[in-house]
């Protein structure tokens, strides 16, 4: 009876909790409506879409300007624009780089729709198309946001000719690769698992192929890449350091077209097109064939190895009505290594469906259901010890987001999301013995948020909002209690579906822009981020054996407060952009692992975790030239990242492995002629902190190291020059394909950048010596790209 009462009470509490959410959501909407609706007064809405006249593709980032009012907006991702203006006649000018500018007179005496179709400017077609407003960097409310287009990425020299989104981002200020050639990245001193990586809004848990040398993003299918270095948009959360937002192409092109390439490592093909009037589709694939080189080996074992990865993206969108669009996105990618001793594979699978509904011209709703899974499996096929070890993490997320333009000056973003996490740390199967399954864990993560973009006047704009998240651990589970020495003292069992622990966390975020004049602005931002899941992987390079584990009653959620200020200035009619940003990030409950931690196959993993404080601060200077035959950027970052975690390094402050005080990146692209273009990239970074032995002990004739503290030494400095040349033959009218040859040279002056330092005893004297492994000398490559 008492139990029933308890259940009844808990159920009620939970219902109340949901009720509170729904009510607060509705209240937020009403308050927002009432606060800002008065501004819309006697004005009328004019809206429309700007398209490419030749292809019918929408043009995101086009400028729409009303001459009489001296007011302009930039079209959104779907090429749409919206004004609210008084009755009258207006000259509207629409412009976009690479297109002929169009001007039109419009009479406004009610709600008006006016679409534009711009004619491509053939003389300017070779110019880079940057899909943003010319001075967007000055007015945009976000700081610490870097946007790259597929075109910009395509121009950068790449390792083995494999153009890579994440490698390109690693050239931006405040972004570091976690180790040579790795697609793991650190943002403002954060660790690799503090980055939220989204592919069309769905989380990708491991974005690497081939042990990190390539990322899972096929650049041919990518539309845009945005990296938020801490100031996450209100609808996202769950990571401390950054958001990498990768969007795939979704244009409704009027004919089937494709792009592809053949490289020394992989080949790829992307085809997109229409299906009827209202449906568009895209299919994109990539497969590496490194194992073909193994077939040339004289060693019969190597000839039988397989070693490849693939990516497959598919996307279909259908517009049911002018207000309703439904899209289904699928992605699967896998790495496969197979030898006579066994096999190893890992990869992501993603499926998402969303429904965009336009309630009115100023209220867009997006409802989505996303599924993501990362798995790996290792298998030994040796007789006598056949064994398979598999692990995965799966998420199912329901999200509802609303974008609302209350007035020209006020935009709202609000919504809800709920995620079900399932963690499967390990399942070991052996033919002659019972299966061994480490306990799965389950969690729910619910969020509600409201964000407001508020343009106070022509000089001052504000952005503010709040995100609230409840993270709940759910049974079935056996939960250990630890004493102060991290020994298990008690075990509590919770049955299936039982919510046994809840964290409620609030994430306030604030940003302001003060426009000094037409060419410069000042910005300030504050962001509070919370992270509830993290990786148990303390290796420097990040192996594919990622083990994600949730916050729990033993592990508090990680938290970060990021403060940043910046000065932004454009020169030469916005042709050159400069920014100077200062940031300070204070972190609480940051995770590290005790010395000699056993992270895999350990059901008492939480006993290996230590939590403490961290801080990161720095200065980032960026100079970027966007137009002309010579484009590119140079940036410099001065930074420091430290941690202080009781139980590690005797409780003393130590440098984070990602601490690289000085970084310089230089990237230049030059259009020599219509046929030839060249690019060069140079990277310099202080060597990262490492722990080298300071003493040795001898036991049974062998030497073992003794250390004096964590990360007290440094590797030698890292630097590298990459070059590439692209040859584009003139397309003959009868040819179906437009081809392009790219020749690249990675690490052109063969600098031996240390990847691993190991120790060995001299065979004759027995005295230890150090050995350094570097991964890449100068690596030449050739790639053929084509489009039709």
């Amino acid at each position: 009876m008492e139990t029933n009462k308890k259940i009844g009470f808990k159920l009620k509490t939970r219902l109340n909790f949901v009720g509170i959410w729904v009510c607060s959501f509705l209240i937020c909407m009403c308050v927002a409506q009432n606060c800002f609706s008065e501004e819309s007064g006697s004005k009328f809405m004019i809206s429309g879409i700007v398209k490419d006249q030749a292809t019918g593709n929408p043009l995101p980032g086009a400028n729409v300007y009303i001459l009489e009012l001296k007011r302009g907006v930039v079209t959104d991702e779907e090429g749409k624009y919206l004004f609210r203006i008084p009755r009258g006649s207006y000259n509207i000018r629409v412009s976009f780089i690479g297109y002929t500018t169009e001007k039109r007179l419009l009479n406004v005496d009610g709600m008006t729709t006016c679409d534009f179709a711009l004619l491509p400017n053939t003389q300017l077609q070779e110019v880079v198309v940057t899909s943003k407003k010319k001075d967007e960097n000055l007015s945009k409310l976000n700081m610490g946001v870097q946007k790259l287009t597929a075109n910009e990425i395509q121009k950068m020299p790449a390792l083995m000719g494999e153009v890579d989104v994440i490698k390109a981002l690693q050239l931006l200020p405040g972004v570091q690769s976690t180790s040579e050639g790795s697609s793991g990245f650190s943002v403002r001193g954060g660790s690799a698992d503090q980055n939220l990586i989204l592919l069309d809004d769905v989380n990708i848990y491991n974005a690497s192929h081939m042990f990190g040398f390539f990322s899972v993003f096929n650049n041919d299918a990518v539309k845009s890449v945005e990296l938020y270095k801490g100031n996450l948009p209100m609808k996202y959360g769950g990571r401390l350091s950054s958001l990498l937002d990768v969007k795939l192409k979704d244009h409704a092109s009027e004919k089937v077209k494709g792009t592809g390439g053949i490289g020394i490592i992989s080949s790829r093909l992307t085809v997109e097109g229409p299906l009827g009037k209202n449906t568009s589709w895209l299919v994109s694939g990539r497969r590496s064939y490194a194992d073909l080189f193994l077939k040339l080996s004289s060693d019969p074992d190597k000839r039988s190895e397989t070693l490849y990865f693939y990516d497959l993206n598919a996307k279909i969108s259908h517009r049911f009505s002018p207000s309703d669009k439904v899209s289904l996105n699928l992605y699967t990618g896998k790495d496969n290594f197979d030898s006579s001793f066994g096999s190893f594979n890992y990869g992501n699978s993603v499926a998402s469906v969303y429904w965009n509904h336009l309630f009115s011209q100023n209220l867009l709703s997006r409802l989505s259901l996303d599924y993501t899974k990362y798995q790996y499996a290792l298998q030994s096929s040796m007789a006598n010890s056949k064994v398979k070890w598999a692990s995965n993490i799966q998420d199912l997320t329901l999200r509802w987001n609303m974008d609302q333009e209350v007035s020209d000056r006020v935009k709202l973003e609000y919504g809800l999301s709920s995620t079900f996490h399932q963690f499967e740390p390990a399942l070991i199967t052996r033919p002659d013995y019972p299966n061994y399954r480490m306990q799965r864990s389950y969690a729910l993560e619910h969020s509600i948020y409201l964000g407001i973009d508020h343009k106070l006047n022509d000089r001052i704009s504000l952005k503010y909002g709040l995100r609230a998240t409840a993270f709940q651990n759910m049974g079935k589970a056996s939960v250990y209690s630890y004493n102060k020495d991290y020994e298990v003292v008690d075990t509590t069992f919770y049955k299936k579906g039982k919510i046994y622990h809840t964290y409620l966390r609030y994430e306030p975020r604030f940003g302001a822009v003060y426009r000094l004049n037409s060419y410069s602005s000042l910005k300030a931002n504050y962001t509070h981020n919370v992270q509830f899941v993290q990786i148990a992987n303390s290796s420097a390079s990040g192996s594919p054996l990622d083990l994600w584990f949730p916050a729990s009653k033993n592990i508090k959620p990680q938290q970060a407060d990021l403060y940043s200020v910046g000065y932004f200035r454009n020169f030469n009619n916005n042709a050159i952009e400069m920014s100077v940003e200062l940031y300070y990030k204070g972190m609480n409950n940051v995770i590290d692992f005790v010395d000699n931690a056993q992270l895999l196959l350990n059901d008492k993993l939480e006993g290996e975790v230590r939590t403490g404080k961290g801080k990161a601060y720095g200065l980032e200077i960026m100079l970027k030239k966007n137009v002309g035959r010579l484009t590119g950027f140079v940036n410099y970052t001065l930074s420091r990242t430290e941690r202080k975690v009781p139980g590690i390094n005797d409780g003393k402050t130590y440098l984070s492995p990602t601490d690289k005080p000085h970084c310089v990146n230089l990237m230049l692209a030059y259009e020599f002629s219509k046929k030839w273009s060249f690019s060069a990239g140079w990277v310099y970074a202080t060597g990262n902190p490492v722990t080298y032995p300071t003493g040795r002990m001898e036991i049974n004739g062998e030497y073992f190291p003794i250390y004096s503290g964590r990360n007290t030494s440094r590797r030698s400095d890292y630097h590298r020059l990459d070059l590439s040349a692209t040859y584009t033959p003139t397309k003959k009218p009868k040819n179906f394909l437009q081809g392009e040859w790219t020749f690249s040279l990675y690490n052109a002056y063969w600098h031996k950048n240390p990847w691993m330092v190991s120790f060995d005893q001299n065979t004759s004297t027995g005295i230890p010596k150090a050995r350094m492994t570097y991964l890449f000398g100068a690596v030449p490559s050739i790639t053929y790209n084509f489009k039709f």
């Binding site: 180790s179 050639g181 042990f211 040398f213 490194a290 193994l294 019969p300 039988s304 190895e305 290594f337 030898s339 006579s340 001793f341 066994g342 190893f344 290792l378 040796m382 007789a383 006598n384 010890s385 064994v387 070991i428 013995y433 290796s539 420097a540 192996s543 054996l545 010395d595 000699n596 895999l600 196959l601 490492v690 722990t691 080298y692 032995p693 003493g695 040795r696 002990m697 001898e698 036991i699 049974n700 004739g701 190291p705 003794i706 004096s708 990360n711 030494s713 330092v757 190991s758 120790f759 060995d760 065979t763 004297t765 230890p768 150090a770 350094m772 492994t773 890449f776 100068a778 690596v779």
Partner: protein, 312 residues
């Protein structure tokens, strides 16, 4: 019995193999280098294992030195070493003396057999820091119950172009507790007593089960030696048909198991993929000394490496 640690280690080495295979596609290279590192203050290193063999039990005392120091580590010869064994109501005490002057090896005067369930306590008194006052270093360990190994055998297999031998054991795991084991072995009466050659395994997933011919380690045939780099081959043990194997399997404490695993992980520096950050090898010796003091009972079994492949 067996064997998550062995699985993990085997999987790691396999994964590493896969990675190394992919490296020729890159242009990686390893070469000798010099690194700048300071020398830490020397500390005493105390190492000893009390076994159930009726032998003169031994403790090694030496001093740590700078990592790249060109001279050998110094032996400690001015220590007073005592060993005490306890069980309910009974205590024995032994004084250990250096077997030869300057060797740093301290032994009991007479053979003594350790006993499972008894607690062993080591006390070392010496003026290591030479301040005129001796310091005391202590450690203790209770000898775990013996694991009775019924048999060991070796099977010969062909894996691609490699000839591989697996070392298999048959034994009853005690059950109801997590057990840690290690095996050291001799090949043709030559004992591989280096910690890096110890085979460590545990009974996760096999608690209380009888395991028959469970593989705990794999060796390559001597003819495959040329397939490995000289550096790797130097650290490996290769077998040939007809070799006589003696395996000594012991049930050990978790602490000693962690010590062996850490020694093996840290010995060559940390691997960017699998190693965590470099960290000091755990010790159970007090007062800032390094090394380990342990006690275990051993079960030995012999076998001969077959010359013929085992039918699967």
């Amino acid at each position: 019995m067996m064997n998550m640690k062995a699985i993990y280690k085997q999987m790691k080495s396999y994964l590493w193999l896969v990675y190394i295979i992919s490296l020729p596609l890159l242009s990686s290279c390893t070469e000798d280098t010099t690194i700048a590192t300071s020398n830490s203050t020397p500390v005493p290193v105390i190492y000893g294992a009390i076994t159930d063999h009726n032998v003169r039990q031994q403790i090694d005392l030496s001093s740590s030195t700078g990592y790249f120091d060109k001279s050998q580590n110094k032996r400690i010869s001015n220590a007073t070493v005592t060993l005490q064994e306890d069980t309910v109501g009974i205590t024995h005490s032994y004084t250990l003396a250096q077997d030869s002057v300057g060797s740093g090896i301290y032994m009991t005067a007479n053979p003594v057999a350790g006993r499972p369930g008894w607690k062993y306590k080591l006390t070392v008194n010496m003026d290591f820091n030479q301040d005129g006052t001796p310091e005391m270093y202590m450690a203790e360990c209770t000898m775990p119950q013996k694991l009775n190994v019924d048999s060991v055998n070796v099977t010969k297999m062909k894996e691609a172009s490699y000839t591989v031998y697996s070392l298999n054991i048959s034994a009853q795991d005690p059950g109801n507790e997590k057990n840690y084991y290690f095996c050291k072995y001799s090949v043709n009466d030559s004992l591989h007593n280096e910690i890096s050659k110890y085979i460590v395994f545990d009974d996760i997933g096999l608690d209380g089960m009888y395991v028959k011919n469970l593989a705990i380690w794999h060796f390559f045939d001597k003819s495959n030696k040329s397939k490995f780099s000289d550096q790797d081959a130097d650290e490996m043990v290769f077998l040939s048909g007809g070799d006589k194997i003696n395996a000594e399997v012991s049930n050990i404490t978790k602490g000693y198991s962690d010590f062996i695993v850490s020694c093996q992980n840290q010995k060559d520096g940390s691997n960017p993929f699998f190693g965590g950050p470099p960290a000091n090898i755990p010790t159970n010796i007090s007062n800032g000394a390094r090394g380990y003091f342990t006690a275990y009972a051993t079960s030995s079994a012999k076998c001969v490496v077959p010359t013929h492949f085992t039918a699967n």
